[in-house]
Symmetry: C2
Subunit: 404 residues, 2 copies
C-alpha cells in the first residue's frame, strides 16, 4: 500500500480521512518482520525500576541563586492521562526540602481544643483513611501570562500544577478526637521546614475534605512533597497544602502569618488587596500541540490537554482551532474526579495552514475560564498571582507551535 | 491528658473507643512545640525527584540463576490507594528487558488484513487515545497458595499483581484502519524481546477494550513494563498484555505458540488441561495487617486491602476477623474502576487475642472469590496457575502476623 492510497477503515468512516498520514509500510514486505527483532538477552529483573534512558523529560529549574527558596515546573507537555509521576511533581519550597525521619516525626494538634494531642506517623497509619485524586497548584502558576508575551511552553506557563492520588486521614477525624472548642473558627497549619511555612485555614474546610496525607501515587509522599506528612486541601492554592506538616493549632481567627501576608494577595485596581482567596479558579491548557512542539505532518492530530477547578468537577472543555471564532466540545476522560486534573481530547485534522488553538473550561459550579482580557477587566493589571486565563497556542505553517 | 483518659471525640462516638491508643502527649507541654523544629536550609529544588532515603520498600527478587527469565513481586503490604508506583510494578520477563529505541520502534499490523500497516511510535501518539486504570496480574500469582503452607507475606503470595493508569490507542482503531478480513478470528501479539514472547487473542477482545499503550501513570511506560509499547488487555492474565509490542498478526485461529502451550494451562483432575482461560477470576488480599507486619498495640486498627477482578468492577468485599465464622462488608474506595484494583477498608478494634483475618470479594458478574477448599474442589490439586483463593492471616497475641 502506498501512502495516501484508499483506506476504508474506521478513521475514514469517522470522517478523519487525513488521519495517520504518518503511518507507512516499511520498505520491505511487511511479513518479513516476523524474522526481525532483537536476539540478545535483555537486562535482568531488579528491585527498583528506573525510567528508560531515552526519556529525558525533567522539571524546569529556575535561574536562581536561592535554589532552596524556589520552584520547579512539571513538564505537562509530556504528560499522559491525569497523573503526574512523583519524580516530576512541581516544587515550591521556601527553605529547601528537610530530611525528616518518619520514626521521629510528630504532628501536634493544639490551641482551642479540649485535649491537645501528638500523633506519631505510626498512629496516623492505624486510623481510618481515604485515597483521593487531587491536583495541587501553586498560586503563582500562570504569572507569566499577565504579560501579553506569555511563556513559550506549557511547562513554563502552567507547570506549577500537578495531580496525584493522595492517601491519608481526614483532618476532621483528628480534630474531633482533640475536641474543637466553640471559640475555634480557624486553624494554623505549620510545616516542618526551616522557615516553618504556615497558613491560616477556615475550620469549615477542615471539616469538609482536608486530608492529613502520607501516601502519594501508591507510595510514601516524596520528600519534595512533604515527606512524611502533608496537608492536602482539595482545590485550594498550593501553599495551603502545608508540607512536612508538624502542627495544627486551633485559633479564633486568621493568624496573618508572614507567608499569607507577604504573598498570595492580589492588588486590585482600587488599591485594595484580595487576600485569602483560597479557591483555585477553573483553568485549562492544551498540552498537545503546545508551545515548543512541532507537528511533523499535515493530517490527523488528537488535540489533548488538562483542565481543573477548585470548585469541583470539570463539566465542559471547549476547544477552538481558529483562534476563538468557533468552539467545539472536547471529550472528557472518565471518571472525572472533583478538584483533580481532567484529561480532554479532540480529534483534529490540520490542513497545514497557520492557526491558533485554545481551550476553555467550565466547572460544575458553572464558572467559565476567562480569557486574558476578561481576567484583566475583572482584576486589573496589578495582580501577580491567580492567573487562570485561557492559553492560545500559535501553530505555524511549518508545524512549529509557539505562544500566540 | 493521660493515655486512656476520657475522650469525647469522633472516634468515641463512632464506637471506636479503643482507637489511637498509640496517640500520646509529649513529655513537655505540647505548646512548647511551637518553638521546636529544624532550623537549617533543606535540599534545593531538583530536576527529577527520588523517594526518601528512609523508604526501603523493594520488589522481591527470586533466588535464581536466570534473572532474565524470572519475576519480581510488588510490595503490596506497603501500598496505599490503588496505584502501584512504576518502580515497584511486578516483573515477569522471559528473556530480559530489551533496551528499545522509541525512535526506531515500530508496530506491524498484518496477516488477514486488507492493508498491512507499520506504525511508528510518533504515528500512534497522534491518534485518538484513552487513559484507563487497570491491574495486570501474572497467572502464576498465588502459586504458593496451592500448598497448605502458603507464602508468609502479601508480597510473596500476591505481589505478581500491580495497577496503573495506562494511556494508549484502542487496538480496534488500528485494526479498522488495516481492514480486518472476514476470515480473521484471532490475533497473534508478539513482543520485541529476544524470545519474541507471543500469545493468541480472540479478535472479539481486541474490539472490546484492548489498548496499545505507551503511557503508564502519567509518563512513558517503564522498560520493565514494555517500553515503548505494550498491549493492555483489561482483566486478562498478565502475559497476554504483551510487552515491547512489535507485531499484531490477524489469523483464523489460535497459533499455539510456545508460550501458550508450555505454560498457563491447568491440569484438571480428569487429566485434561484448561487452556486459554484468559480472564482473571476475582481475588482479594488484606494488606494491613498482613504477614510479616506487627500490630504495635491493642485497640483501633483500620484493616485495609486490595480486590480485583477480570470481569469488571468489584461489588463487595467481606472481611472476617474471626477466621471465617462471621463476615462484615468493608468500605470500597470510590470511584471503582473496571478491571482495576479496588481499595477496601474496615475499622477494627483488636482486643489483643489471637485471631484470623480474611477477605472475600464479589465482582459485578456475581462471581464470589472461593476459599482454598472450594478452589481445590473445582480444580483439583494439579493446578499450578490461576490460584485466586482467599488468604487468611493469623494475628498472634504478641501482635505478629503470619500466614494462617
Amino acid at each position: 500500500m502506498k501512502k495516501g492510497s484508499n483506506r476504508r477503515g474506521f478513521l475514514v468512516s469517522a470522517g478523519l480521512s487525513a488521519a495517520i498520514t504518518g503511518c507507512k509500510q516499511g520498505g520491505k514486505p511487511a511479513t518479513t518482520a516476523e524474522d526481525e527483532g532483537p536476539n540478545r538477552l535483555g537486562k535482568p529483573v531488579s528491585e527498583y525500576g528506573q525510567r528508560s534512558q531515552f526519556e529525558k523529560s525533567k522539571r524546569h529549574l529556575p535561574d536562581t541563586k536561592t535554589p532552596e527558596a524556589a520552584s520547579t515546573r512539571t513538564p505537562l507537555q509530556d504528560s499522559y492521562g491525569i497523573l503526574t509521576p512523583a519524580a516530576l511533581h512541581f516544587e515550591r519550597h521556601h527553605s529547601g526540602v528537610p530530611a525528616l525521619d518518619p520514626a521521629q516525626h510528630q504532628l501536634l494538634v493544639h490551641g482551642l481544643v479540649d485535649r491537645p494531642l501528638i500523633f506519631r506517623l505510626e498512629d496516623l497509619k492505624r486510623l481510618p483513611s481515604v485515597s483521593r485524586v487531587h491536583f495541587v497548584e501553586c498560586s503563582g502558576n500562570g504569572r507569566s501570562e499577565w504579560s501579553p508575551k506569555g511563556a513559550p511552553d506549557a511547562q513554563r506557563s502552567h507547570g506549577l500544577a500537578s495531580c496525584s492520588e493522595w492517601t491519608g486521614v481526614p483532618l476532621s477525624l483528628l480534630l474531633a478526637e482533640a475536641g474543637v472548642q466553640a471559640a475555634a473558627k480557624w486553624l494554623l497549619a505549620e510545616g516542618g521546614d526551616a522557615c516553618k511555612m504556615s497558613r491560616s485555614i477556615p475550620l469549615q474546610k477542615a471539616n469538609d475534605d482536608i486530608l492529613v496525607a502520607y501516601g502519594q501515587n501508591g507510595e510514601a509522599i516524596r520528600p519534595e512533597q512533604g515527606y512524611p506528612l502533608r496537608l492536602v486541601v482539595p482545590g485550594w492554592e498550593g501553599n495551603i497544602n502545608v508540607k512536612w506538616l508538624r502542627r495544627i493549632k486551633l485559633v479564633d481567627g486568621p493568624v496573618m502569618t508572614k507567608d499569607e501576608t507577604s504573598k498570595y494577595t492580589d492588588l486590585m485596581p482600587d488599591g485594595k488587596a484580595r487576600i485569602f482567596t483560597f479557591i483555585v479558579d477553573a483553568k485549562s491548557v492544551i498540552t498537545y500541540p503546545s508551545g515548543g512542539q512541532k507537528l511533523t505532518a499535515k493530517g490527523f492530530h488528537e488535540i489533548s490537554g488538562l483542565a481543573w477547578s477548585g470548585r469541583g468537577k470539570i463539566e465542559r472543555v471547549e476547544i477552538s482551532t481558529d483562534g476563538g471564532k468557533t468552539w467545539v466540545n472536547a471529550k472528557l476522560e472518565e471518571p472525572r474526579h472533583r478538584m483533580a486534573f481532567t484529561r480532554f481530547r479532540l480529534p483534529w485534522t490540520w490542513d497545514g495552514s497557520e492557526t491558533i488553538l485554545v481551550s476553555r473550561c467550565t466547572d460544575e459550579s458553572g464558572y467559565v475560564q476567562p480569557d486574558r482580557d476578561q481576567l484583566i477587566a475583572a482584576r486589573g493589571k496589578n495582580s501577580d498571582y491567580h492567573n487562570n486565563a485561557t492559553k492560545p497556542w500559535l501553530v505555524k505553517a511549518d508545524g512549529s507551535v509557539t505562544n500566540a
